[in-house]
């Protein structure tokens, strides 16, 4: 009667079974830091050193990996320095999996986690970033931690968790062609609120999810963070196996929930009833159907981030932009170099450039309002990203509407928020 999350946590803590509310010490399989949490963790190490602790190794350098994503290309002198710090750290501690900007494959950490199969089904994965939940779509327990917790894991390979309750979201039937996983997760967050899954796991299933691509599932788990969830997860299936096999990985130990698995609550959604959804400023729960916003005039469309710049997100945008030109400033930033290459090989980059779009390097930059195209005061952006808090993408008085790549691309063409069905 255990669900997949309980089973993973039971196995990782050497127990036969666990129930929600139990505190368990689990062995961690993989841990990730990036160019914001890495220096943060190093600051915690410094504090511990001052207290007399010797820190000259991590528990297992093979299980640690590092991404450069938030402030690359280096936004300024301090961020350049942080990359140097990160490089010295991985050298000193013998961490080989460091995806460096400008040296082949690199990209947003949550995208690399699946593109590079850094995490496998059944594993416990933690990272110094709140969207670590994303990787749960591969059938792993994946959760974000603060810097002190990550420092602890780096030293000990363990962490404690309170076993979360699980909310099960069941999608019956396929989504219509004009609706993407992004619309479904926005709809769900609008229904349960930004703390609707606080310290809970959001599990996705049903025929609609079984039919979904791996990348679509990753969009669902990615935004569980916006509902306050501890983690998001999908049971691994043949699609996951094929996805990993395409990356040369066939050996791992899948975990599945029992047939009579228990969930705190089950929510059902009918695929055929779903519509394009947009979250208005300044909260991801502030959702309406896209058509209700057709009078909102925009300054910019942004197709990027771990949420909305995977290959199929770019394909969706290209489907709309093919043979059309954009009316507002539009940026496409593939979430990893591997996706950039596939977009080039598949002719998507030409479609974007022909439409007048700027294509940029993978970075979290503008999604978190840090650099690489931030918004001015009063500017309004439609974005495939995951957050629209005040000032998230730039000036505190700018506004961000969250949408699927189809809606973002259709809106780029008209300059107003546009349901892709209404595009002429």
């Amino acid at each position: 009667m255990l669900n997949i999350t309980e089973k993973i946590l039971a196995r990782a803590s050497g127990k036969k079974e666990v129930s929600p509310g139990d505190v368990v010490f689990v062995n961690v399989d993989k841990v990730m830091v990036h160019d914001v949490s890495g220096p943060g963790v190093l600051a915690v190490f410094e504090k511990l050193r001052k207290k007399g602790m010797t820190i000259d190794k991590v528990w297992d350098p093979e299980r640690v990996w590092v991404a450069e994503d938030h402030f690359v290309p280096a936004a300024d002198k301090i961020s350049a320095q942080n990359i140097v710090l990160l490089t010295n750290f991985t050298k000193q501690f013998g961490i080989k999996k460091h995806f460096k900007y400008g040296m082949g494959q690199y990209g947003i950490c949550h995208t690399l986690s699946h593109e590079e199969a850094m995490v496998l089904p059944g594993e416990v994965y933690v990272g110094g970033d709140s969207h670590t939940n994303t990787t749960g779509a591969l059938g792993a327990f994946a959760a974000g931690l603060g810097h002190t917790d990550v420092a602890y894991v780096l030293l000990n390979g363990k962490i404690w968790f309170k076993v979360p309750e699980t909310l099960f979201f069941k999608l019956n039937g396929k989504l219509p062609d004009h609706v993407m996983a992004k619309d479904l997760i926005l709809k769900i967050i609008g229904d349960i609120g930004t703390d609707g899954a606080a310290y809970k796991t959001m599990q996705f299933g049903g025929t609609g999810v079984s039919e979904m691509s791996v990348e679509s599932r990753l969009t669902l788990t990615n935004m569980t963070t916006e509902a306050g969830a501890k983690s998001g997860i999908v049971e691994p299936d043949q699609k996951i196996r094929e996805y990993l096999a395409a990356r040369g990985i066939t050996r791992y130990d899948e975990v599945h929930g029992d047939a009579d698995a228990q969930y705190e609550k089950v929510y059902e959604y009918e695929g055929s009833e779903m519509e394009p959804i947009v979250a208005k400023p300044f909260s991801p729960e502030n959702t309406v159907v896209a058509r209700d916003l057709s009078s909102v005039e925009l300054d910019k469309a942004y197709i990027g981030s771990c949420t909305g710049a995977k290959l199929e997100d770019l394909e969706a945008a290209a489907k709309i932009l093919k043979g059309r030109t954009v009316k507002i400033r539009t940026e496409v930033l593939p979430a990893a170099m591997s996706i950039f290459r596939k977009a080039m090989d598949g002719g998507l980059l030409k479609i974007f450039l022909d439409a007048g779009v700027v294509v940029g390097p993978p970075t979290c930059g503008a999604c978190c309002g840090a650099h690489m195209g931030v918004l001015a005061k009063d500017e309004i952006c439609i974005s495939t990203t995951n957050r629209n808090f005040p000032g998230r993408m730039g000036h505190i008085e700018s506004q961000t509407y969250l949408a699927s790549p189809l809606v973002a691309a259709a809106s780029a063409v008209t300059g107003k928020i546009t349901d892709p069905r209404d595009l002429k």
């Binding site: 010490f25 709140s130 603060g146 002190t148 030293l155 703390d195 840090a370 808090f389 000032g391």
Partner: protein, 190 residues
């Protein structure tokens, strides 16, 4: 960390829901490498005008709350990015207690790692605390909150209470006592 005992202070009322960690410490300050000194950046965009002058209408700039060590917040405080800098800033500024109806999960955990006590209370109690003009006393040992119009007990996970009361560094402590924590937690389940 300093052992946490009793805090008695005027409370700063931050009357906003869903305050995310980017409001607590804006992204431009995440690049700083050291762990200290973040207090000056706390609520930066709300606290300062463009030229760096304090905004008179923001509660932190009200001299009445100048020595406040308790922050009153609203639903889902600390949501968004997992940046621990947010807690470092609150701590460095001087807040030792945050009272709200709910907290985001990673933020909540980060608080304890840095000697801050986050307390969840009901809507009704929070309203009363927002309306009090008296000092608020928070006693961790007895798990109680007292003000002129409120006297309640609050819940806290047992191991977090122990860590704060004894001023234990979470990392050092878990290194030594992880099994004890598990059994302690089991016998004191809330």
């Amino acid at each position: 960390m300093e052992p946490f005992k009793k805090i008695k202070s005027i409370a700063t009322p931050l009357d906003k829901v869903n305050v995310d960690t980017d409001q607590i410490v804006p992204k431009q300050f995440l690049k700083l490498i050291q762990r200290t000194g973040f207090g000056q950046y706390l609520f930066y965009d709300w606290r300062y005008e463009k030229g760096g002058l304090p905004r008179k209408d923001f509660v932190l700039n009200d001299p009445a709350y100048g020595h406040s060590r308790i922050l009153l917040a609203r639903d889902n405080f600390g949501c968004g990015s997992s940046r621990e800098h947010a807690v470092w800033a609150l701590d460095d500024y001087g807040f030792k207690v945050i009272i709200s109806t709910s907290f985001a999960d990673i933020f909540y955990n980060n608080c304890f790692k840095n000697g801050i006590l986050p307390i969840r209370v009901s809507d009704e109690i929070l309203e009363k605390l927002f309306s009090t003009k008296s000092e608020i006393e928070v006693d961790l040992e007895t798990q109680s909150i007292k003000a002129d119009n409120v006297s309640i007990s609050f819940q806290i996970e047992p191991h977090w209470k122990k860590i704060l009361l004894e001023g234990l560094d979470d990392i050092a402590m878990t290194l030594l006592h992880e099994e004890q924590i598990a059994s302690y937690e089991k016998s004191h389940k809330i």
